[in-house]
């Protein structure tokens, strides 16, 4: 299947029972991800523990960080491979659970002191169900825009990649970098 087709197809939820009545995430294409990052005033990239076992994800995050200058909040231990590759995350010890709690507080100044973030991009979480819960919290209790560029469709994000097989997934990530 081509990447274009994959983005047009109806996608499944990683767990068919993880349903809510509010709107499900809109599928977002790689190009639009890049544009949204560019247009956002205070974006942040939040990485998860899958980076510990997937060198290609680390590669992607390093390049995206270099290209966009976007701050990285590393969770799940993902800081280690990133630091080894020269990325300095703005936070390393706070788990995604902490970070989500902070994001839901409009008075939070962010890890850089510049105020709460307007866009949070999520990548590399080992457990889709965990990210799903955090995205649900952000959907209901915050104004932060959320994009999931993980391999499974995340229904409670504002925007999400669809489910993608391995090859298409890395192709999609590359396309973000190409824009």
């Amino acid at each position: 299947m081509s990447l274009d087709k994959a983005f047009e197809r109806v996608t499944r939820i990683f767990n068919p029972a993880d349903v809510q009545v509010s709107k499900c995430a809109s599928i977002i294409k790689p190009k639009v991800v890049a544009t949204m990052i560019k247009k956002s005033k205070h974006p942040v990239l939040i990485t998860g523990g899958k980076l510990l076992e997937d060198e290609r994800l680390v590669d992607f995050v390093v390049k995206l960080h270099e290209k966009t200058g976007m701050d990285v909040i590393a969770t799940g231990g993902s800081s280690r491979p990133l630091i080894e590759r020269g990325v300095e995350p703005v936070a390393t010890v706070f788990t995604l659970h902490y970070v989500t709690q902070y994001l839901t507080d409009p008075n939070w100044k962010g890890f850089d002191g510049k105020g709460n973030y307007d866009l949070a991009v999520f990548i590399g979480f080992t457990a889709p169900y965990y990210l799903s819960r955090m995205l649900s919290a952000l959907k209901h209790f915050s104004r932060v825009n959320t994009i999931s560029i993980c391999e499974y469709y995340q229904p409670h994000a504002k925007f999400s990649f669809p489910n993608l097989n391995e090859d298409l997934y890395y192709e999609a990530l590359n396309m973000i970098l190409e824009v």
């Binding site: 990683f14 009545v21 390393t92 706070f94 788990t95 659970h97 080992t126 169900y129």
Partner: protein
């Protein structure tokens, strides 16, 4: 006239038709003055909860954004909208959390009631609670909450009366049209959690006292653990659940009939642990996630179920395998006919012949004979089949797979069964199933959706049979309470911080990844000489985590409650000994009065005792209430990612400076403190992250500089090892240069100066300016006004 009151009734002759009933009278000597909150009702400790909730703000991650609890609904509550009754999404989620905690606490309470009722009938109300010479504070939770020192089994009935009343009162608050603040529901959840620890304590001390389990023995026997430990030449009785009574009767029957070496008694879940506390010859097959593994293997000749965490398809699954089932609990009677009062000969014959798939036997004392005779007969008549399926069947099953991936989307771990199937189908290589097996919880969800009807669980297990069989090791039988003498020894180093922390690895096996990760986390802390306590499914899985020589952690680390010790307290209800141990530290080391004095003790624990729970695979409602009970007591917990589905966490915000303060009894001032611990319940995604969080959450405001130095050393080392850098917040915990790890002192002082703008006197290597507060050796923190007033003699103007 002084009347000696006893249970029963008196009739006054002159007043015809008047009977005065005297309820239970507990003779209490004045062992300690009564504190402010004996037998607290729902609102009595709300002031303490409000202190906690102010700091540790509830965080909600809704599973659903709708409610359908009453007929005005269903109501769409997304984005915190209100339902037809006026409740908003957050409050509705808090309400559900209370419900989960109630289910959990009720399970332990009903279990406790059953045990106590049984023991009163068997041994009488006056049967003493004797937990051995080294355990004088026999029931720290009961003393703290209820305000008595229980001396006999009969005393425990009164405690349960109170717990049951409170649980009903909280359940009442969940009706539509009650609370409108999520904080009030959270206070109720905390209340229920506290009650849960009382109920668990009642259950466990009752069984320890009556059944002569190990009484705080650090050298409790080692018991065989794992799927591969069963002697398949013998008939096998598999007991599943949490209530030891039927299992005990089986063990007794075998002994009375000289059959103890002829039949294998094996347990799953907490019944396994409690059976081995009763009889260390019994064996532990594994946790909840081994239920389907064990049944589908066809190894058991009879399955006996009691209560809690038993699959709701046990009878169906066993019937498919031709395994008769004996249900024994009112909580899980499995649609089976009640044959408690029938002739055992008839029941045995019906079960062995297959005329009856199962029976309900409500009297635990009648289970032993039936279970043993059925196991022996079934074994004689049926012999042994190949576990799971034959090699031919295995090959035929994988051929059916179309690679549709429906199984993947139904699997709670999204395991790539499709890939494993295709790999086996095309290449004849089954290794991918062996990679999946340690993470598979054998829930069977994949099979429910497979359009080809493939027996996926059996395929995974058959492909991994050698791996499964090699999962053997030794657990230490649950030792029950921590001895008072042990507390006397470690109380001071724990409070000072020189024993860097107590890690309590407890809860269920719904791990995010392979089971082994739990062992890896725990071993990191044992090597660093933290105290590790464990219970329930975590305790069993640690018994299966072995080194190259086949030695489990229990064989490598002592069972004492001391630095570098690994202490298995027992089953779920034995978790009360862990809360009990931290309570006892306050009582024995600090001489704080326990009786009806909850807030003072919880406040003491929160500020001083670096104990942290690790529930890496928590799944149950019981785990929810246990954790919430620990939280009210001031003990934080790190949980695995599945636990975010409990919907609620308690996470503070270190950057909200106004939230981190205490009253200092010594300086008589309200002063800012470091945010330690900064969460009461928080999830970690990976084992690396969990390890760092555990070390981090052991830090307490009252650490001495030596203790803080040791805690910071571990925290920083672990962060460097697993996160690749210094932790972001280490500087928040520095009060004086003496807090800094010795080897890194210069380097860290430089960072404090350069990156955080602190003033350093380099000549004397002293911090001049920067920390949240100055270090003071006499620092005596509290959050509670009445505690401050009690120890300073001064009133706080509120």
């Amino acid at each position: 006239m002084v009347m000696d009151l006893r249970d029963g009734f008196i009739v006054l002759d002159e007043m015809r038709n008047v009977t005065i009933r005297i309820g239970k009278v507990i003779e209490e000597d004045e062992w300690e003055p009564m504190g402010p909150t004996p037998k607290p009702h729902i609102l009595d400790l709300r002031y303490w909860d409000q202190k906690l909730l102010e700091r540790y703000e509830p965080f909600y991650a809704p599973m659903q954004d709708f409610c359908n609890l009453c007929t005005m609904g269903p109501c769409e509550l997304s984005h915190n909208k209100e339902g037809a009754c006026g409740i908003d999404l957050k409050t509705q989620k808090a309400r559900l959390v209370v419900l989960a905690c109630l289910i959990g606490a009720s399970s332990h309470t009903a279990h406790a009631r059953h045990l106590v009722h049984y023991l009163v009938e068997k041994f009488g109300r006056d049967h003493p609670i004797d937990l051995g010479n080294n355990v004088n504070i026999e029931a720290p939770n009961v003393r703290l909450v209820f305000g008595i020192r229980p001396k006999t089994i009969g005393d425990l009935e009164t405690v349960l009366d109170y717990v049951e009343q409170e649980l009903v009162r909280v359940l009442h608050t969940l009706h539509t049209g009650q609370e409108e603040s999520y904080l009030d529901y959270e206070s109720k959840a905390l209340h229920v959690g506290m009650l849960d620890h009382v109920a668990m304590e009642v259950a466990d001390i009752a069984q320890v006292a009556a059944f002569n389990y190990p009484k705080g023995d650090p050298d409790a026997p080692l018991v065989e653990t794992g799927f591969g430990v069963l002697d398949l030449n013998k008939p096998v009785i598999l007991i599943i659940g949490h209530n030891v009574l039927p299992a005990r009767n089986i063990v007794d029957y075998l002994e009375e009939h000289g059959l103890e070496n002829e039949v294998e008694v094996a347990g799953l879940c907490c019944t396994a642990i409690d059976t081995t506390r009763y009889d260390p010859k019994a064996k532990i097959v594994g946790t909840l996630s081994f239920e389907l593994r064990a049944i589908r293997s066809g190894i058991p000749d009879v399955v006996v179920t009691d209560e809690q965490c038993i699959r709701a398809d046990t009878l169906r699954e066993c019937s498919k395998m031709g395994i008769p089932v004996i249900a024994t609990s009112e909580a899980a009677s499995r649609g089976l006919p009640d044959r408690t009062h029938e002739n055992p000969d008839v029941i045995v014959e019906d079960l062995v012949s297959g005329r009856a798939k199962g029976v309900l036997i409500r009297d635990p004392d009648k289970v032993g004979e039936i279970a043993v005779r059925v196991a022996i007969e079934v074994r004689k008549r049926k012999g042994r089949k190949e576990p799971f399926m034959s090699e031919e069947e295995l090959k035929a099953e994988v051929q059916k797979c179309t690679g549709c991936a429906r199984c993947v989307f139904s699997c709670p771990h999204n395991l790539r069964i499709d890939v494993a199937m295709q790999h086996a189908k095309k290449k004849g290589d089954f290794s991918k199933f062996r990679e999946i097996e340690p993470t598979c919880i054998a829930c069977g969800r994949c099979e429910q959706v497979c359009p080809k009807g493939i027996r996926i669980v059996d395929v995974i297990m058959k492909s991994s049979l050698d791996q499964l069989k090699s999962k053997t090791g030794k657990s230490r039988a649950g030792r029950g309470p921590i001895q008072d003498v042990e507390i006397r020894k470690v109380g001071q180093p724990i409070v000072m911080g020189t024993i860097p922390g107590v890690i309590a690895a407890i809860g269920c096996p719904n791990y995010p990844r392979a089971r082994e990760e739990l062992g890896q986390i725990v071993e990191e802390f044992l090597k660093r000489r933290y105290i590790v306590v464990t219970s329930g499914c975590h305790a069993m899985d640690l018994g299966m985590y072995t080194d190259e020589e086949g030695k489990s952690l229990y064989e490598k680390y002592p069972g004492s409650f001391d630095a570098g010790g690994l202490v298995n307290v027992g089953s779920c209800v034995a978790n009360s000994h862990i809360s009990g141990a931290v309570i006892k530290i306050a009582a024995i080391f600090a001489q704080r009065p326990l009786r009806g004095n909850y807030a003072e003790i919880a406040d003491y624990i929160l500020n001083r005792i670096g104990a942290v729970g690790l529930a890496w695979g928590a799944y149950s409602q019981k785990a929810a209430s246990i954790a919430t009970g620990f939280n009210r007591l001031g003990v934080p917990a790190v949980v695995g990612p599945h636990s975010t589905k409990y919907r609620r966490a308690y996470i503070g915000k270190y950057w909200k400076k106004e939230k981190w303060w205490v009253y200092d009894i010594k300086s008589k001032k309200k002063i800012p403190v470091e945010p330690a611990p900064d969460a009461l319940l928080v999830c970690a995604e990976t084992k690396e992250e969990a390890i760092v969080q555990l070390a981090r959450l052991c830090i307490r405001p009252a650490d001495t500089y030596l203790g803080r130095q040791i805690k910071l050393t571990h925290y920083i080392e672990l962060s460097q090892k697993y996160l690749g850098c210094l932790p972001d917040d280490w500087h928040l915990y520095v009060r004086t240069e003496a807090d800094l790890p010795v080897k890194m002192r210069d380097q860290l002082l430089k960072i404090l100066e350069d990156e955080h703008g602190w003033k350093i006197d380099w000549k004397n290597k002293k911090i001049l300016e920067g920390p949240i507060r100055q270090y003071d050796a006499g620092f005596n923190p509290t959050l509670v006004e009445h505690v401050y007033e009690k120890y300073t003699g001064e009133k706080i103007i509120r």
